[in-house]
Symmetry: C2
Subunit: 390 residues, 2 copies
Amino acid sequence: MRNFTYQNRTEMIFGKDVENNVGQKLKGLAKKVLIHYGGGSVVASGLLDRIKESLNQAGVAYVELGGVKPNPKIGLVREGVALCREESVDFILAVGGGSVIDSAKAIGIGFYHEGDVWDYFIQKVSVKETLPVGVVLTIPAAGSESSNGCVITNEENEYKRSAGSKIMRPVFAFLNPELTYTLPPYQTACGIVDMFAHVLERYFTNEKGVNLTDRLCEATLKTIVEQGLAVMANPLDYNARAEIMWAGAIAHNGSLGLGRSEDWGSHMIEHEISGIYDIAHGAGLAIVFPAWMQYVHQHDLGRFVQYAEMVWGIPTEGRDEDAVARAAIEATKRFFKQLGMPISFEDGNLPTDKIEEMAEKTVENGPVGSFIKLDKGDVIRILKIAADLK
Amino acid sequence: MRNFTYQNRTEMIFGKDVENNVGQKLKGLAKKVLIHYGGGSVVASGLLDRIKESLNQAGVAYVELGGVKPNPKIGLVREGVALCREESVDFILAVGGGSVIDSAKAIGIGFYHEGDVWDYFIQKVSVKETLPVGVVLTIPAAGSESSNGCVITNEENEYKRSAGSKIMRPVFAFLNPELTYTLPPYQTACGIVDMFAHVLERYFTNEKGVNLTDRLCEATLKTIVEQGLAVMANPLDYNARAEIMWAGAIAHNGSLGLGRSEDWGSHMIEHEISGIYDIAHGAGLAIVFPAWMQYVHQHDLGRFVQYAEMVWGIPTEGRDEDAVARAAIEATKRFFKQLGMPISFEDGNLPTDKIEEMAEKTVENGPVGSFIKLDKGDVIRILKIAADLK
């Protein structure tokens, strides 16, 4: 086990109706809040109005900035930074899913940088300060509600890049599973794949002697499979929605990766797909992960056999390790398909003519991944497997 | 799943040699530190000297108070409070195991109460403020290094009582598994039972729809069994020591009980045993838990069957539920015996003539436990089972 440091300051306020206390929570924390959101459902459902009412009742001043899109764009972040400065905002409240939270986090750090906020995402400057961010979560997926980073897309050059710092964890997050009842099935499914992938990135490690985190990863993966399918079958199942919402936070709060090397190769590859084609991140991950697994599984068959046994309950005794590993990859694909996700470019109706470009961008700062380090050739081969995987 | 709020601010600094940075860590956080410890091994091993050297090098002033005993006593806490006031201490550094940390936490809250610090433990006053507490952990067991409470014994009346508040979580905790290499096997074993029991208290719940936390509990329990036996077999196995050390923190940082009712009946009963006989808390739990399980298992056979299957790998198909549950209780006893723990009063060489008094004290504020509420008669029957359990 490796040495590590872990601290997660985010206060998680979980359950029915909790978001009605957001005004009271902000009182004393903020003089003027930027309410940041996407549009559509947050407005139509009346949630945004309820949040504003809660702030009004608590006497907390606010300004608004909506319009966050999936794969949130640097352009809107720049607008947000300018608005926060003009309006002397001292707290950002993200009302939405991972895209909104990530956009809010980017505005929070951009506020303290005189140059362009994109500088953080190309490692030109590092994060030293941020406006505090709070969250009312509506989509369980990204885990951004208590994670220490964010991912932003530069719409000018189709780059999708991340920035992170321990000070970027939100101050609080309200998680009401009932707010997720009305998510379209596709979006629910993308979220389920996203959180599943967040655990996989930590599970596939070369580190030995990490049994506790292995078991915790497997516990979370199994629950995401079981409760994910339950949510798809019955969107109004409160407990299943609650389990998935909490799993999304656990999957990406960092606790499952402690003492281990983490991989993140698949995420890096996926970022180039959604950066170019603007598809949902979860759908992109469903396309990349099975291909990645197929490409790397012989590197550590034992770990894939463990994955097969502990997550999928595949019998292993007396069986060929490669066959067991392949069965686990099949089970993973089957799960994604059951969720209605694409598992190939073909499935997702994406062209494959930019594979070379995507691979080039993926490795432009050097090889990606850790379980196996992937160079450009590896990435091309993985994307080619992903092209028409069945 | 129930509504919940969770925040764990403790910074966990884990791994080899980490404690050498404690002085640097305290710089800026503290003007004058109380170094609080037990004695014996912390002194003999040279750890205390290294800690002091680290503070000296960082230019952090300190005073010392040693002498904490297992089942830490209110008398020393009172001394600590007086010392902190005299010396204008503004930070307490606990160097030791759960007893030392609990004593430090009690001093921290006592500092802000004009009356007797015991008032917190009889609910005469509630915790509103505390001196910050930091930890260098030497015994993985109590989980106090990131928990929100403490347990103190009043040596005048043999009462053992707890106090808690979210502000009582330590600011930081240094966890170096190598510091636990030299623990006597009995103390290692007591710690293993203690952390195992912390998970059981959360696992045996009446709450439905808590699959994720169920799985996380089972993951932790399984790891404690596997790695606990590995540590007993090879005390110098770094990874096993590390897994047990981290499991102790996970078991009691509150995350495994979220959204659930927790039980704590067995702990309440045990407190009366160690309060009177001053035995190790872990040993007391090894005596109480199997008897508690035997007494309550028919309340929810399904949960005991799940415990049998998921933690102990006991085959369940086509078998009588009661038989499976009993097999799980047997497995639990066997584990405690393998660790060298007593599983009965007889085993522990304790008299049974105070069963009535212990039961009386256990329920003096009303029934205890939640899985089944236990009144005085229940507690007597459990203690009688524990008297000579085989």
